[in-house]
Symmetry: C2
Subunit: 263 residues, 2 copies
C-alpha cells in the first residue's frame, strides 16, 4: 500500500508516501478530490518549513496540550484528510483527553461521514460524534457544512481543528470557542483566526500533541495556566513566516549550487 515502490532513499520519500496514502483514502471514499488539491497546498508549505517540526510548532503544541487539558468540553474535529493522514494519533489523543472525536466535513455526505466514523472506530475510537447526530447548526454557515453534533462541537469550549476552512474557523470563534488549528500555511485565514496555531504537518503534529498531553496530564492546573499565559500566537506565526523566508534564501543558494549546468 503506502510507500509501495518508493525507495526510502528518495529525498521526498515521506512526501510521496503521504501522497499515496491520500490517493488511497480518496479511492475508499474518505477524501474528496478537493481534499487532494488542499493536500498539495499543504505539501508546498511543508516543503517551505523544511518538512520537520520547528520551534514555532513545538511552542504551539505545548499551549494546545495545556488548553485541551484545561477544557471542560474539548472536542477533536476530524475531516477526511485528517482521518486519512492521522487517524491513529487522533484516536490516541481523544483517549488521553477523554474527549469525543467529531466527524465534521466541509463537503459533507452521510456516506463519507459514515466511512470516516468506521475508520476511526477501526483505530479504536470510543466515542465518535457527527456521523448520525449532526443535527445542530453553526450560525452563519450554510447547510450541510454547518451541521454539527449537539453533544460535540456545539457545546465544546475548546475545539481542535486540522486542515480547516477559514469560514468555519471564523464561525467557531464567533461562537466564543477556543480554536486550536493544525495548519501548514501560516498565512491562511484559519491560521490567523485560531487562538493557537500549530504550523506543522498533521502527521507529525498529532503524535507530538498526544505525547505532550501525556506529559502534562498530571501537572497541577496552575502550571497549565502558566503555559497558556506565556503563549503568544502572533509571535509563533511571525516566527513561522520568518523561518520560511530564511529557508527560501537558503534553498535559493543551494538550488543554484546544485544546478547541474553549473558543474
Amino acid at each position: 500500500m503506502a510507500g509501495h515502490g518508493i525507495p526510502r532513499s528518495h529525498p521526498r520519500y515521506w512526501s510521496l508516501v503521504l501522497r499515496e496514502r491520500l490517493v488511497e483514502a480518496w479511492r475508499q471514499g474518505i477524501v474528496v478530490p478537493e481534499g487532494l488539491i488542499a493536500h498539495g497546498r499543504g505539501e508546498c508549505f511543508d516543503y517551505l518549513i523544511g518538512e520537520e517540526t520547528q520551534w514555532f510548532a513545538r511552542e504551539a503544541v505545548r499551549a494546545a496540550a495545556a488548553a485541551l487539558l484545561l477544557a471542560e468540553h474539548p472536542v477533536i474535529s476530524v475531516n477526511g484528510n485528517a482521518a486519512a493522514l492521522a487517524a491513529e494519533g487522533l484516536v490516541r489523543l481523544a483517549d488521553l483527553l477523554g474527549a469525543p472525536l467529531e466527524v465534521n466535513l466541509f463537503y459533507r455526505t452521510e456516506e463519507r461521514a459514515r466511512r470516516i466514523g468506521e475508520l476511526l472506530r477501526r483505530h479504536g475510537a470510543r466515542r465518535v460524534l457527527g456521523v448520525d447526530d449532526a443535527t445542530a447548526r453553526i450560525p452563519g454557515l450554510p447547510h450541510p457544512r454547518g451541521m454539527v453534533s449537539p453533544e460535540g462541537i456545539l457545546r465544546a469550549d475548546v475545539v481542535l481543528v486540522a486542515l480547516e476552512d477559514g469560514d468555519r474557523t471564523e464561525a467557531l470563534r464567533r461562537m466564543g470557542k477556543t480554536v486550536i488549528a493544525i495548519d501548514l500555511n501560516p498565512l491562511s485565514r484559519t491560521a490567523r483566526m485560531a487562538d493557537i496555531t500549530i504550523v506543522d504537518n498533521i502527521v507529525r503534529a498529532v503524535p507530538l500533541l498526544a505525547e505532550t498531553v501525556q506529559e502534562l496530564k498530571e501537572k497541577p492546573r496552575e502550571e497549565l495556566e502558566n503555559v497558556l499565559r506565556g503563549y503568544d500566537n502572533d509571535r509563533v506565526l511571525a516566527g513561522a513566516l520568518r523561518f520560511i523566508k530564511e529557508r527560501l534564501e537558503k534553498l535559493a543558494e543551494e538550488g543554484i549550487a546544485m544546478d547541474p549546468r553549473r558543474q
Copy 2:
C-alpha cells in the same frame, strides 16, 4: 460548470474556478488524482507570486517565444493538467508555430492519452502526437512514462513542457534538447533544469506566450537570436525567489493588520 456558484467578488475567485475545472477534468478521466495534488502545490506558489504574471515570467516568455520561433522542430508537450487548464491556448500556440502537440503523460494510460487527444482536437488542434504513436523511448526513463512519439519529442530540438516532473525534464536535457518549462515553483528540479523557466500559472502564461509568438513572428532571425542571447535564466529564477520573499514579508504585515482580534 467552472465557476458555478462562486461570486466573482470572492478574493480567490480565479483560484476556485481553476480548482473546479481540475476536478471536472478529473471526472472526465483527463486528470489523475496525483494531478490534483500537484495542482494544489501550484496554487500555493501562485499565491506566493501574487496570482499575477510578474516581470520574471514576462522575460522568460519573451525568450521562450524566440526559442520556439528559431526552432527547427518545436514540440509542445501536453499532460493532463495542462490540457485541463490551457487546452485552447496550447492549440493556438501550436497553430502559430506550425508545431505538433504531443500528449505525454507521467501516469500514462492509453485511455487517458486518447481523451486528452480528443479534448485538444475539440479545441481545433491540427496535429496531435503521442496518442497512438508513443512508440519511442526517452533513454533513462522507465516504461510507460518514457514513451514518446518518434515524430515529436524524440526528434524535437525545442520542447515546451508545463507542470513537468523533474526526472523527465532532466532526461530531455540529457538528450540535448532545449527545454522551456512552465512551472510555478522556482525551486523545483524542472525549474532549475530547464533552459528557460516561466514561473507563472499556465492559464496566464500560455495565452501570453501565444501573443508574444504572434508579435515576434515577423521579426528577423537576428532579432530573435538577440532576445535569446540577452536572456539569463538564473537571474530570472533568483528574481522569482526574491519576489516571493518580499511578498511573504508584505503578507505577514497585512496578515497581522487584518487579524480581527487586533481590531
